[in-house]
């Protein structure tokens, strides 16, 4: 049992590291299709984590949410995004990132920062979830950073979803998931959100025939005469 727990702990930590790593790669990634694939990978990792926790803590409702996650974030949404990309002929678009190196360094410092912030938190938690919260907080912030640094609407969606992933991850690992109702609600919201995103792509497309959010800047308060 002892070894098992430690094994479990190591496994969780490994998965956490992987999740974190994926979001790092996403951050530096400039090709949209690859971005979506990475996102899918993250989803799968997430599902795996959930399943693991579910088995170890043998809490049945986590199984459900694991499958949900796999279905939604591992398969459905990535497919949807791919479909959109093909529909809009974006598979060749390069959403290149200015100064990727600085960006990654900033990301790294973010991770450090979130460790620093969450230090007192993890101390009172049990062994396994140590540093999980820090990692997920970092992933959350990285998701935001992704949105800030990328200009394609698709990338924004991915960043948004990545944030959701981070949240979900932390929920699963630190507290063995939220109550089922909440889980369902969250999942529902995510799905609706994905659909609405799809709708928006078309709307944006027909308003400014591209998905570059930098060109969505009609509603500014800076007059030209200033």
């Amino acid at each position: 049992m002892e070894t098992l727990t430690s094994l479990y702990g190591q496994a969780v930590l490994l998965l956490a590291a992987l999740v974190l790593f994926t979001s790092f790669v996403m951050l530096a990634q400039s090709r949209v299709t690859a971005l979506v694939n990475l996102f899918a990978l993250q989803g799968i990792l997430l599902a795996a984590t959930t399943a693991l926790v579910a088995i170890v803590q043998n809490s049945p409702h986590l199984i459900i949410s694991a499958t949900l996650t796999l279905g939604l974030k591992g398969v459905l949404i990535p497919l949807l995004l791919h479909w959109l990309i093909l529909r809009m002929g974006l598979h060749r678009t390069i959403d290149e990132v200015k100064r990727p190196l600085q960006l990654l360094l900033g990301a790294a410092s973010l991770v450090v920062f979130s460790y620093y912030v969450t230090l007192p938190v993890v101390e009172l938690s049990e062994l396994e979830t140590r540093n999980i919260i820090a990692a997920s907080a970092a992933t959350l912030l990285l998701g935001m950073l992704l949105m800030i640094s990328h200009r394609q609407a698709i990338s924004h969606v991915v960043g948004f979803m990545a944030m959701e992933n981070a949240l979900f991850f932390s929920a699963v690992v630190s507290t063995y998931g939220m109550p089922l109702v909440v889980e369902l609600g969250v999942a529902f919201d995510v799905m609706v959100a994905a659909v609405i995103f799809g709708v928006f792509f078309f709307q944006i497309r027909e308003s400014i025939d591209s998905l570059d959010v930098d060109r969505l800047s009609r509603l500014t308060e800076i007059e030209d005469n200033e």
């Binding site: 930098d214 969505l216 800076i222």
Partner: protein, 729 residues
């Protein structure tokens, strides 16, 4: 020939006066039911008075409020039935005036102190009402002017009946405005006070914006409302200090508050700014000359004559009643501000050509004089000479009433002039004394009073102010002893300038030859209603000028109730001699002066007047033989004011330009000269424009936040998060 000319004028005056007095009854005769109701009401009222005694003060005052509200809401129907406004609405205002006079008078004479609380407002705080001699006195001030307006108004508003503006708005706003002022006086807790205060401001704002099709008027209304709001905020904060240190919103609780000198001074400064902004002391007066001329004239009379006094009331109530123990530094501040307002106000007034604007600037001057009195009072009280402080307070209150009377008189007169001559620029008037002789007489009385000349009322209050200032030898600090007379000399300067200014006004408007087509063809008609309204005020000017002593006695009672001390024992309390300190120190028997002057006049008239063997001959004006006298040769108002403009050049922003059209190239043969002069308020440049520039600057720079790029927005959120996380850990 003089005899009959003078005689006709006098006769006409007498006639008009009689008509005016009979006017009200005439109005009533046409509506007997109103007359009956009125008499019945009066009978009931007097019966009630007999029973209740001085406790009747509050009921009467509430009755006054009710009447003014009623007149406002009754006037809502005025769009369909203009007569409703002309008769019912103004009649109710008159009733409100009478009730207010009864209530205020009762409170003032009986030194009543009656409380009442209405179950409105906040759950833990009712609307507290309270009336005492102070509020009673100011209630009287309102009512005196209100009576005049209610008689003057019905005829005056006829011109609006054909205009595009809704009469209902005029009636409603007027009613609410007056009710607001009356409620301010009755309020006894900060919350209700502010409600009444703002009601007053907003209602008068609608009156200022009444003729809103001119951009200038809209701007005036905007400035007015803006500054009213800012002032109100300051007042709220001032009360906030007292609430913070005391335990509750009621004035009673605030009096108990014990403040450190620092916080007391903070509260005082806040209150001074707040109330000063409403009263229009320099440099917070910017709204006043904009707003007052824009409103209909009977409203200008109320605003200039009464509303500013409400601000004075607020200041007195806050400083002398709520704060209690005073500091001498406050007195110095108030005194300096008052002196500055007095001098600058009249200087700017001298430069104005728009009649009502000029009068508005004179309000600034007179408010300055009132505040000088208050400043002296604070000095003496803080220095431990309450009896001398009472003189200053009485002088200030006295001038409050007097200014209310003659300033309303002048504004009503201005209203008549504007309405008849269709001119607002005095440069285009002239010779009106032949067209409207009686108005001229009444307006002249106003001019003499405001120029502080004996034997009219303006002089009495300024005399009292001087007397207060001359008691400086009682003060401990030599600095103050030498400083106060200097301010007194500034008061003298403002008096002299005011006299000059009103010589200009009366001379240019009424005397000389008509300067424009309109002035030439001004209708001779003088409505007896207008005459009655102004006559009542003019009569008061003379009465209070000749018999000031009863008023001073009442005011002494007021100060006793307010600060616990009246005039020195040695002061004469007879009915004729006005001697605030002692008969040896200073005495002024206005009645005696009046009689003696009359006597001297009679004698000189009888003895030195040539008999019929030496008749007078009408001849063409000599004018040093210049020949044909045309209006263009007359001395214009700006020419009259030119020496002052030259001498006090530093206190104005003067734009003066002269263009010469010349027939030939080298400009030697000048065919025409065009002279353009624009004098503006220096304080705009000093105080208001910098603020505006700062605002523009910061608005432009803060606006940069909204870049329109979503990634920047995300950045905001991101960094806020980081920052906060860093803050907490």
């Amino acid at each position: 020939m003089i005899r009959n000319l003078v005689a006709t004028t006098i006769r006409q005056t007498r006639l008009k006066a009689r008509q005016g007095l009979s006017f009200a009854s005439g109005e009533l005769k046409s509506h007997p039911q109103v007359l009956i109701a009125l008499t019945a009401g009066l009978v009931l009222v007097s019966a009630y008075w007999g029973i209740e005694g001085k406790d009747a003060a509050l009921p009467f005052s509430l009755l006054a409020v009710a009447f003014s509200l009623a007149s406002g809401f009754l006037g809502l129907g005025a769009d369909r039935h203009p007569r409703l406004l002309r008769h019912a609405s103004f009649l109710l205002l008159g009733l409100s005036g009478i009730a207010g006079l009864l209530g205020g008078g009762t409170a003032l004479i009986g030194r009543a102190a009656v409380d009442l609380s209405l179950p409105l407002g906040l759950p833990w705080l009712d609307w507290n009402l309270h009336i005492d001699a102070l509020s009673g006195f100011f209630l009287c001030v309102i009512s005196v002017v209100l009576l005049a307006v209610s008689v003057f108004g019905p005829h005056y508003v006829r011109e609006y009946e054909h205009g595009t503006h809704p009469l209902s708005l005029l009636a409603l706003a007027t009613g609410l405005f007056i009710a607001g002022m009356q409620l301010v006086l009755l309020a006894a807790d900060a919350f209700f006070f502010m409600i009444a205060w703002e009601l007053m401001s907003v209602a008068s704002y609608f009156l200022v914006a009444y003729t809103h099709e001119h951009a200038a008027n809209r701007h005036a209304a905007f400035i007015y409302l803006l500054m009213a709001e800012i002032g109100a905020l300051f007042i709220i904060l001032a009360y906030g200090v007292l609430v913070g240190f005391g335990d509750g919103f009621t004035f009673a609780a605030m009096k108990q508050a014990t403040l450190t000198p620092l916080w007391a001074s903070v509260a005082f400064v806040l209150a001074l700014i707040g109330f000063g902004m409403k009263a229009g002391i320099v440099p917070l007066h910017a709204w006043l000359p904009e707003a007052h001329p824009v409103a209909p004239s009977h409203i200008s009379a109320l605003m200039s004559g009464v509303m500013l006094k409400i601000a004075v009331y607020g200041f007195i109530r806050f400083t002398f009643d709520l704060l209690g123990d005073l500091l001498w530094q406050w007195g110095v501040v108030v005194l300096v501000l008052g002196a500055a307002s007095a001098v600058l106000g009249v200087l700017y007034a001298l430069m104005q050509h728009n009649l009502k604007r000029l009068l508005a600037y004179h309000s600034v001057e007179n408010i300055g004089i009132i505040f000088m009195g208050l400043g002296l009072a604070i000095l003496f009280y803080s220095d431990g000479h309450p009896t001398l402080g009472a003189i200053g307070l009485i002088a200030a209150l006295c001038h409050t009433l007097n200014h209310a009377i003659f300033k309303s008189l002048l504004f009503l007169g201005a209203g008549v002039i504007l309405q008849r001559s269709h001119e607002s620029d005095i440069e285009r008037m002239g010779g009106l004394i032949h067209r409207m002789p009686v108005t001229a007489v009444l307006f002249l009385i106003g001019c003499i009073s405001i120029s502080a000349l004996p034997p009219f009322n303006g002089f009495v209050s300024e005399w009292l102010t001087y007397q207060a200032a001359l008691q400086v030898s009682a003060l401990d600090s030599g600095v103050l002893r030498s400083f106060v007379p200097v301010t007194a000399a500034m008061l003298a300067l403002s008096g002299g300038l005011a006299a000059a200014c009103f010589v200009k006004v009366f001379g240019v408007v009424f005397l000389g030859k008509p300067r424009s087509h309109h002035a030439q063809h001004t209708r001779r008609l003088e409505s007896s209603a207008a005459i009655a309204g102004m006559g009542w005020l003019a009569g008061l000017c003379l009465l209070l000028g000749v018999l000031p002593t009863p008023l001073v006695r009442l005011l002494e009672g007021l100060t006793v109730q307010l600060t616990g001390s009246g005039l020195p024992e040695t002061a004469s309390r007879g009915w004729m001699w006005l001697a605030p300190v002692s008969a040896d120190t200073a005495s002024y028997a206005a009645l005696g002066v009046m009689l003696a002057m009359g006597l001297a006049w009679m004698l000189s008239y009888e003895w030195l007047h040539p008999g019929h063997e030496h008749p007078e001959r009408e001849a063409y004006p000599w004018d040093c033989g210049f020949g044909a006298l045309t209006p263009r040769m007359e001395y214009t108002a700006s020419a009259f004011a030119m020496p002052f403009r030259r001498i006090f050049a530093d206190s104005f922003v003067v734009h003066e330009e002269i263009e010469k059209q010349s027939a030939d190239a080298d400009g030697l043969k000048v065919t025409g000269i065009r002279y353009r002069l624009h004098v503006s308020d220096l304080l705009w440049r000093w105080f208001y424009e910098p603020v505006e520039r700062w605002l523009r600057w910061s608005v432009r720079h803060i606006g940069r936040l909204q870049t329109g790029n979503i990634r920047v927005y995300l950045g905001y959120s991101f960094f806020t998060l980081i920052f906060l996380l860093w803050v907490i850990s």
